[in-house]
């Protein structure tokens, strides 16, 4: 770890928190229906949308109605996105003349973007027309992010309300998320990215003359290169802000036209954690107990920072095999040092490691380096962050509601330990909530383990693996961890564009998204119906450092212990074999 690297990382977290606090407060006002500076402009738009869609914004919904609305909305998204891909050959804005996307890939991609996963089994610039990217993928980037935020709001209302059957209106939550929060932020972000050189155009690919001629496989001389362009900046902005992560280009944010400069890199990383961090503040503000929000943010940090340390340390330490060959990998004024395989030289080790950690902590999944080329332990950290259930920041909304399910479990055990029926924020945590929280923890773990188990024993699974030994196993484990937890980043190395992987990973994403939203909304409904228990000296405070530490311990024991055996056969075995 170099001083320069640590300094950059420190700066990153300072700016992150400084930006998250005002944004968090702003979002709290938006969701509480209080006036904000955008009210005049966005308010018109909001009312117009309600009138056009015949929505009665004042109508309250039970959790079942709320969930029903949300699923219809997302189902419509999947169908639309599927059709757009299948029909893109007949649709405009297709300068490359791309044909229809194959059905299995179209299904996988549609599910992937609607579930906020953005797993990409395709290469953007070689598969999708501008029309598909703009009206399909980018739109779902907004819609899926808003869906996550809506569920979180429903849950917050569940905690806040007393003896209430309803948890808000799904259409209002979706609309407000988009037009008050995601759209304005994306607009600013896109302009900033354009200033750094991210392309934003509907032009056909640029053709350039190569400086030096080269040969293709057939032995023909190649003198020119075609550089794909497109409306990238607008899509990159929301891909980062909405923790989507689906790149415009195949190389994602390692691509120089998607992430050209260290400054664009910094802004994109900031955008990944911005809303998830700010939502912690929003949570505290909305419950009129800011400390509760800070406690959750602190718990996330307590897990994130050590794992970042593990990743950064191992990446900067370099490749053991190179050391054995006496290759100098120390950082100096002439070289960045460390393990540079698969990393962009303009970004370096520290920024690649930080990106890998924040993109897997949040369920973003965009990459600026090849995770497959990380050292075994450097790759273990991102893998573990996904396996914890994407709750360390996690997806916008979904990360926090996932974290809150862990909080419920922690509160339950801690409450018993102090001799009282557990309660969180004045609501008693009883069998039903424990059941729902257990499901949220159980379901993604089940999908990851069973999915990987099937893939390692049957042939359609095995053919996709390109690396031998434990590393191949890590690739598979990573793919299912990424899909089931809606992260979307790939370890690469795995050829995932096969019917088997498109289907299994597609289903993993669906289960990992919607089978978690149902229990969370059900828990919200159940909490809303409960009485509020006033806090007293016998009430367990849930904002203290002690509680935060216990929460972290529960996350690590329940979330991580599940995967220890699998990790032992993947990255841990690889590392231990390597150092012998």
């Amino acid at each position: 770890m170099t001083a320069n690297g640590i300094l950059q990382i420190a700066l990153y977290f300072i700016v992150l928190i400084a930006a998250a606090v005002p944004l968090g407060r702003y979002m709290a006002r938006v969701y509480s229906g209080e006036p904000v500076f955008l009210s005049r402009l966005a308010g018109h738009m909001e009312r117009w949308i309600y009138r056009f869609c015949r929505i009665n914004g004042a109508q309250e919904m039970t959790w079942k109605t709320y969930a029903g609305g949300l699923f219809l909305f997302n189902l419509a998204g999947i169908i639309t996105l599927y059709l757009l891909q299948r029909l893109q050959g007949f649709l405009p804005l297709n300068p490359h003349g791309f044909p229809a996307v194959p059905p299995d890939l179209a299904f996988n991609t549609a599910v992937s973007f609607v579930t906020n996963t953005n797993w990409q089994a395709y290469g953007g610039e070689t598969t999708m027309s501008f029309f598909t990217q703009m009206t399909g993928l980018a739109v779902q980037n907004f819609a899926s992010a808003a869906s996550g935020m809506a569920v979180l709001m429903a849950f917050i209302r569940g905690v806040k309300r007393t003896l209430s059957q309803t948890i808000g209106n799904v259409w209002v939550d979706l609309t407000r998320s988009v037009i008050y929060i995601l759209l304005p932020l994306s607009l600013i972000m896109a302009l900033l990215l354009v200033s750094q050189g991210v392309v934003q155009t509907l032009e056909s690919p640029a053709r350039v003359q190569l400086l030096e001629n080269t040969m293709d496989e057939g032995g023909h001389t190649v003198s020119g290169q075609e550089i794909p362009l497109g409306p990238a900046a607008s899509q990159v902005a929301i891909k980062q802000l909405g923790t989507n992560g689906g790149g415009f280009f195949n190389a994602n944010s390692a691509h120089p036209l998607e992430n050209p400069t260290p400054l664009s890199n910094f802004m994109e990383m900031l955008a990944i954690l911005l809303i998830p961090a700010a939502l912690c503040i929003t949570f505290g503000r909305m419950l009129k107990d800011s400390k509760q929000g800070w406690a959750l943010l602190a718990a996330m940090m307590v897990i994130l920072i050590p794992l970042l340390g593990v990743c950064l340390f191992n990446e900067q330490a370099g490749n053991i095999s190179f050391w054995q060959m006496n290759i100098d990998q120390t950082a100096s004024s002439l070289q960045s040092g460390g393990n540079m395989e698969g990393k962009e030289v303009r970004l370096g080790v520290a920024n690649s490691a930080l990106w890998a950690i924040v993109t897997t902590a949040a369920s973003n999944g965009s990459v600026n380096a090849m995770h497959d080329s990380f050292t075994p332990l450097g790759g273990l950290a991102p893998l573990l962050l996904m396996q914890l259930g994407e709750i360390i920041f996690g997806g916008v909304g979904s990360g926090l509601y996932g974290m809150l399910m862990f909080v419920l479990i922690t509160v339950f055990v801690a409450g018993l330990m102090v001799g009282r029926t557990p309660e969180y924020l004045g609501k008693k945590i009883e069998a039903f909530e424990v059941k729902m929280a257990s499901l949220v923890i159980l379901i993604p773990a089940t999908v990851v383990l069973i999915g990987t188990a099937i893939a390692v024993v049957i042939n359609p699974g095995l053919v996709g693996i390109s690396n031998a030994g434990p590393h191949g196993f890590s690739e598979l484990l990573y793919a299912f961890s990424s899909a089931a937890n809606n992260n979307g980043s790939a370890f690469a190395g795995l050829n995932a564009n096969t019917i088997f992987y498109n289907a299994t990973l597609g289903c993993s994403m669906l289960i990992g998204r919607f089978c978690l939203m149902i229990p969370v909304l059900a828990a919200a409904g159940s909490l809303a119906r409960k009485k509020h228990v006033p806090a007293g000296a016998g009430t367990l405070p849930t904002h203290t450092p002690l509680f935060v530490l216990f929460l972290v311990a529960v996350i690590m024991l329940v979330g991580a212990l599940t995967f220890i055996p699998a990790l032992a056969l993947g990255p841990i075995a690889e590392h231990l074999t390597w150092i012998r």
């Binding site: 069973i450 990987t452 188990a453 390692v456 000296a537 016998g538 024991l557 699998a566």
Partner: protein
């Protein structure tokens, strides 16, 4: 406090045999399926046993002796858990047996009408129905629960309460309830039976202590769900190791896939068997501790709810203050000395047998050295208190001394053309403001002064209330006194709030108000007029001396009829939850060490590098796995005493309790197994069993 439970020893031969038989009876899968964790253990046991037989016939996946050892210790894990449950139940069953002794079938004298001389027919007690009238005379056992309709008698209730001193039961009022199985010592009673056969208090008690009617409490159900969830997660984590290791063997070309025996061993070490095995024992033991405190819970839910209570309604009289007021001061008016006043007051009270009267005599003796005189030898005539005069006093040598409430005395003096001095009025008001009761003493038409009668707060109440406050429990004093008096006593006793001039409706409303605010309310009561409030309260402790209605309305019955018992009950409720919580934490944090024992043992054949994870330096893979399994079984036994006794509860704030328990059971749970497993491994190598 008498405790009947302590008189039963576990080593009582019959109990011991019963426990051992139960341990094996509980292996019945139909019984175990209610406990998902232990059910999985049983399946694991059966599986390894089958693997053992397979190995015996030469197709073993591991060494036969190893499979056998794992299998045996897994069976032990199950048996130990059953033992914990049987032991907890055994204690209850022993009590039930002694209670059943009281349920001897007695012959009852069935009366045709509530009249001692009515015709009586002799029928077996078990055939009595509700509203039958029976005659019970000295020496008879009362045949069933009922209410005394005629008569008064002393009754020996030791069979139920363990209290050997007889109690008085009489018709009317709050002492009319009698319990079947108790014995009339003197006089006679006519009892109207209030419970059908099989529904009597004794029957309920027996069912309760036997655990037959034990239902899972809400928190227990929630914990069960969590444990089932964890079991599923670990089931997946271990079972998927089969394909994972098959892949790894293929990828590396060395080692062999993990065997079923090892998978089962790992699974059972990881699932929360410690808490799963002890869960029902903890619940039964909690109920048992209630019984040891001489409290009968009519539902397990009430025991648990007791831990959640955050508002405690306490009757002032008898709970917070001593039952009666006492004279604490003599306040003479101008022209009279305190000595004179005390003398007059004592004279007027010599024949007054009320507790107030006695306390005046005692105070005069204590403060002014005026000895008690014999009223007969003085030739004095005692004037008793009547509702008309509202005074009492004495006529002696022409002196007419009276004492009474201020207004009564004022009328008395005015009738004799005397004056009621302003000074006396202000003293009277002063006493009332301070919460005391003023008694004015007059001789002839001359007011001598005022006696102050005060409530005497029981010793140690202030400390108990501040202890409750630290526990997060608010105390509310209920009294029929006026608000001024109530406020003064409340301040002295240190309660958080009070309800003055309380009527049964006001009590009920107060409970509802608290409940609407989300509080859980506990109260004690004994009278029939307490019944509605008892029924409304979340935790309602009825005094055993109370009426049948009160006992029916309450969900706990205190056999000692001690109103401060509530505080103890809250402690027991909290202990119950804490024991579950701490053992859950302990159980889960144990897993870390077990991974370090089993993973290197299972996989270092495939990836030799994984041997580096064997940080405990366990001798062989077999010994490592076996040590973890043995540790997992023995820890259940080691924790049985804790499960039965309960985690100690101290009235600190919630945060402090959590910190303490996390250090002991969380951190302890992390560290202890490392040493335990290593020690077992060393022992196994020493004995050369590996």
């Amino acid at each position: 406090m008498h405790t009947m439970a302590k008189s039963f020893s576990l080593l009582d031969k019959q109990t011991l045999w019963q426990t051992i038989i139960d341990v094996f009876l509980k292996l019945n899968p139909l019984h175990l399926v209610k406990n998902p964790v232990m059910f999985v253990v049983e399946i694991g046991c059966i599986l390894t046993t089958l693997l053992f037989f397979q190995a015996l016939f030469g197709h073993g996946e591991e060494r036969t002796s190893f499979i056998m050892a794992v299998s045996i210790w897994l069976w032990f894990t199950l048996l130990f858990a059953n033992f914990a449950e049987a032991m907890a139940e055994g204690r209850g069953k022993a009590q039930a047996r002694s209670l059943k002794g009281a349920r001897r079938d007695v012959m009852a004298k069935l009366l045709s009408e509530p009249n001692r001389d009515a015709t009586a027919s002799v029928v077996p007690g078990s055939q009595l129905k509700k509203d039958d009238l029976v005659l019970v005379v000295a020496g008879d056992t009362i045949p069933g629960d009922g209410e005394v309709t005629v008569g008064v008698a002393s009754v020996d209730e030791s069979a139920i309460t363990g209290e050997s001193a007889p109690v008085i039961r009489e018709s009317g009022g709050d002492r009319s309830a009698v319990t079947g199985g108790t014995r009339v010592l003197s006089d006679w009673l006519i009892v109207r039976i209030t419970a059908n056969p099989g529904e009597t208090f004794l029957d309920k008690m027996i069912a309760m202590v036997e655990g037959a009617k034990r239902q899972k409490t809400p928190n227990e159900i929630a914990l069960d769900i969590l444990l089932a969830g964890l079991t599923l997660i670990f089931l997946l984590a271990t079972v998927t190791l089969v394909p994972f290791s098959i892949y790894s063997v293929r990828a590396t070309g060395q080692g062999s896939p993990v065997t079923m025996t090892v998978i089962v061993a790992l699974l059972i070490c990881l699932i929360p068997t410690t808490i799963g095995g002890l869960l029902s024992a903890i619940g039964i033991a909690g109920m048992d501790r209630m019984i040891q405190a001489n409290v009968i819970a009519t539902s397990g839910k009430a025991v648990e709810a007791a831990g959640d209570v955050d508002v405690l309604l306490l009757d002032k009289t008898g709970t917070i203050t001593l039952g009666n007021r006492e004279a604490t001061e003599f306040l003479p008016v101008e022209g009279t000395t305190a000595q004179q006043l005390a003398d007059a007051a004592q004279l007027s009270s010599l024949a007054d047998e009320t507790p107030e009267g006695r306390s005046i005599v005692v105070l005069a003796k204590k403060e002014y050295g005026i000895r008690e005189r014999d009223i007969k030898s003085l030739g004095a005539r005692f004037i008793p208190f009547t509702a008309m005069s509202r005074m009492s006093g004495v006529n002696l040598d022409g002196r007419e001394i009276r004492k009474g409430a201020a207004d009564a005395i004022e009328a008395h003096v005015k009738a004799r053309d005397g004056g009621f001095p302003e000074e006396a009025k202000s003293i009277v008001n002063g006493i009332a403001v301070q919460g005391g009761t003023p008694l004015v003493v007059v001789e002839g038409s001359q007011v001598l002064g005022v006696i102050r009668l005060s409530d005497v707060v029981k010793g140690g109440m202030r400390e108990r209330f501040s202890e409750l406050r630290r526990m997060g429990i608010r105390t509310v004093m209920i009294t029929g006194d006026n608000p001024l008096t109530a406020a003064a006593v409340a301040a002295e006793a240190g309660v958080d709030d009070f309800l003055a001039q309380a009527t049964p409706e006001m009590k009920l409303n107060l409970i509802r108000t608290y409940q609407a605010q989300g509080h859980l309310v506990a109260m004690t009561g004994d009278g029939t007029n307490d019944a509605p409030a008892l029924a409304q309260a979340d935790v309602a402790v009825a005094m055993n001396t109370g009426t049948q209605a009160a006992k029916e309305a309450g969900n706990l019955v205190d056999l000692d009829s001690n109103p401060t018992k509530l505080i103890e009950i809250v402690g027991i409720g909290k202990q119950l939850l804490m024991t579950r919580g701490t053992l859950t934490t302990f159980s889960i944090s144990n897993d870390v060490a077990k991974y370090f024992a089993i993973l290197p043992a299972a996989f270092s054949g495939i990836y030799p590098g994984l041997a580096a994870l064997n940080i405990m330096a366990l001798s062989t893979p077999q010994s490592a796995i076996l040590s973890a399994v043995i540790f997992n079984a023995l820890i259940i036994v080691a924790l049985i005493p804790l499960a039965l006794r309960g985690v100690r509860y101290r009235s600190l704030g919630a945060a402090a309790v959590l910190r303490q328990n996390l250090i002991i059971y969380g951190l302890g749970g992390l560290v202890v197994p490392f040493f335990g497993i290593k020690a077992i491994d060393m022992l196994l190598s020493f004995l050369n069993w590996t």
